[in-house]
Amino acid sequence: MRKILAVFFIGVFGYYMLAILMDFPFGIDHLNPGLAGAYLKDTVSKTGAVNVVTSIIVNYRGFDTLGEVTVLFLAATGMSALLYDGKTMNRSRQNASVIVKAGSRLLFPLIIILGAYVFIHGHLTPGGGFQGGAIIASGFLLMFISYRNYHVSHRILSNVESTAGSVFVVLGLLGLLYGATFLENIMPLGIPNKLFSGGLIPLIYIAVGFKVGAELTALLDTMLKTVK
């Protein structure tokens, strides 16, 4: 009964959605010249970043990103609050084989460097704080899996998290102080396609990278630690 109702509902919903999408052919030029067109036209000259997506995320819609970072922060906070039981547990997993261990030891620094590269170059190449942070977290995951007693201090993680988050907000407040609006790009824009360009964009993305990396690592560690 429940299935039939669900299928009926989904059928109606799907038909309607398909009818709507049919009105919008795939792949045609539909850019809103006022918004998307303006982003494409002005990004390089006005923000100094060559990656338009990055400049939208960090600069034009930087407020969204502040919210997004907060959402991840919330998930990490909520998770550790919900799994809190007053004592910490050890991960009770077998040690991995020697080859895996040696391999991870070798790979770990490379992954961390890759992650850092991705978030430092967020305004030049695809990638940025979120991607870099996720890559760093996966590096830590590798170590968690291969070494039973690999330990990351939650204290350090939470300090990194707090500091990076505060840096983001403080950079925004500096814009209010020295410019006119919150998150305003108060630094010199530099020459496009150079590492030191884009004003605040790389700084914010580095803060985001640290924050996301620390948060995701903390999430993984919290979850793994409570394995019975």
Partner: protein, 489 residues
């Protein structure tokens, strides 16, 4: 002195990020951070009132003019709701100081601060996607807070809430996708302007998706299944926050969509019918509850039904009534929840039956609860009366006599179950002696603020009506809102 309104969002976020570090140095400080930060929000939103009443305050972020960047658009409506949210948040933050003992407390304060920041962001922002992000902040902290007490039912209520809320957020995202496809913009005023050129069939689909999305937080029938469980399983102050804050953010989103972005005549009838069903279903269910917090939760849903009916009238006076009702609900429901929290704490049981004789043993608490109950029932000199009267008279004036009759019937049911509880508090004897516990001074202080405000508004309703008028106008006459955003270019 007025600061940049963006600080109302930036400072709480900064504070929430810093709480873990501060907690290292002192376990005691995190308690007071929400009080200070939300107190600042309260101050700021009061200081903002004279400006936003004249014309909406546009706060530019990152230096980009409206359709390009995100901007805060603080009209009378947004400002009044922000004031409501920070007022309730401030009161609950004071109440929290002594009440919350469940570990890890600093995490509780972080979540508490973020739920209020999220709701403030929803009502202040002038950008559709930004609204979605802030709604997610609000709802994710709400899920975590629902499960904060680690017993069996907390997790279950939270999962139920998360499931409904998760579907709702995908629906909002889908609605945003459709809107972006056909208007090419995300700024609310810009969308409202371009929406008239969009095929009504497509606009209707987008509107349905967004109504479903915001309807969950606004407790619109049939999307309110999460509410009774979440209200009753969450820690008491969080129940007050749900009723006083989260719902307000949802209703604001819903009203903004229906009034400003889309213009369909039919949706107002739909809203009225849904409101009526919400009201009747909730009041009937509240009647049957044996747990006090569940009863309050259903009553909260019922009140929202009344608000929807008033919004469904789509007249200036009707919207004023709806906003007034929201204000009263924001003052009274937290009062009821907070006093019920202590009553439950003293009697050691969530059931209404075990509250017998509390009126003698805990005169203050029982008075607060009784006051809240009388006010929310709409007894004449109190504030609840005025808003109900406006809504009912306006409903009749517009020819919906049957609806008005049902609203009256709902009010009678409401009166019956509240009086039942109040009667038990005062007129039943309870024999066994429990150990004496004191009511914390901070809690008494917090609840007194609400009572005093309720009395003042009850005696001088015009005091708030002068602010609600422009707020209602902002919704009814949407060109005002649109022009104010584009006037700054």
């Amino acid at each position: 002195m007025m600061f940049d309104p963006v600080l109302m969002i930036a400072l709480p976020l900064l504070a929430a990020f810093l709480i873990p570090v501060i907690n290292r140095f002192s376990k005691a400080i995190p308690k007071y951070i929400p009080v200070v930060v939300i107190g600042f929000n309260l101050y700021e939103s009061i200081m903002l009132l004279p400006y936003s009443m004249v014309k909406p305050v546009i706060v530019i972020i990152a230096g980009w003019q409206p359709p390009l960047g995100i901007n805060l658009t603080i009209g009378p409506l947004g400002n009044i709701l922000a004031l409501m949210i920070s007022l309730v948040g401030f009161v609950v933050a004071i109440y929290n100081i002594k009440f919350v003992t469940e570990e890890p407390t600093e995490k509780y304060y972080m979540l508490f601060l973020l739920i209020i920041t999220g709701a403030t962001g929803v009502v202040l922002t002038g950008d559709l996607f930004n609204m979605f992000v802030f709604l997610e902040i609000t709802s994710i902290s709400a899920y975590a807070l629902t499960a904060f007490i680690r017993d069996r039912n907390g997790a279950e209520a939270a999962f139920k809430y998360l499931l409904i809320g998760g579907i709702a957020s995908t629906m909002i995202l889908l609605g945003i996708a459709i809107i972006y496809t056909y208007t090419g913009t995300l700024n609310l005023a810009d969308i409202a302007q371009k929406m008239q050129y969009v095929d009504p069939k497509i606009a209707l689909a987008a509107m349905v998706l967004l109504i479903v999305g915001f309807g969950v937080e606004a407790e619109l029938f049939p999307l309110n299944g999460w509410a009774p469980d979440a209200y009753s399983q969450a820690p008491t102050p969080v129940g007050a926050v749900f009723g006083g804050i989260v719902v307000k953010a949802g209703v604001y989103g819903l009203a903004r969509m229906i009034y400003t972005i889309f213009n369909f005549e039919g949706v107002f009838y739909f809203l009225m019918i849904m409101g009526l069903i919400t009201l009747l279903m909730a009041e009937m269910s509240a009647m049957r509850q044996s747990q006090i917090k569940r009863m309050l939760a259903f009553s909260s849903i019922g009140q929202m039904g009344l608000v929807f009916i008033a919004f469904g009238l789509a007249t200036q006076r009707g919207v004023e009534g709806a906003l007034f009702q929201m204000l009263n609900h924001a003052l009274l429901k937290p009062l009821l929840f907070l006093s019920a929290g202590y009553l439950v704490y003293y009697s050691g049981s969530k059931n209404i039956e075990d509250l017998d004789g509390m009126g003698r043993r805990k005169p203050f608490l029982a008075f607060f609860f009784a006051f809240g109950a009388f006010a929310i029932m709409g007894l004449p000199p109190l504030n609840g009366f005025w808003s109900k009267m406006i809504i009912i008279s306006e409903t009749i004036r517009n020819g919906f006599v049957i609806v008005a009759a049902f609203v009256l019937a709902g009010s009678v049911i409401e009166a019956v179950y509240y009086l039942r509880v109040v009667g038990r508090l005062y007129f039943k004897k309870h024999d066994d002696n429990q150990q004496e516990k004191y009511v914390h001074g901070s809690a008494i202080f917090a609840m007194s603020i609400l009572v005093i405000l309720a009395i003042v508004i009850g005696l001088y309703p015009d005091l708030v009506m002068q602010y609600l008028k422009p707020a209602a106008e902002e919704l009814v006459n949407k060109s005002l809102y649109i022009q104010s955003v584009f006037a700054i270019n």
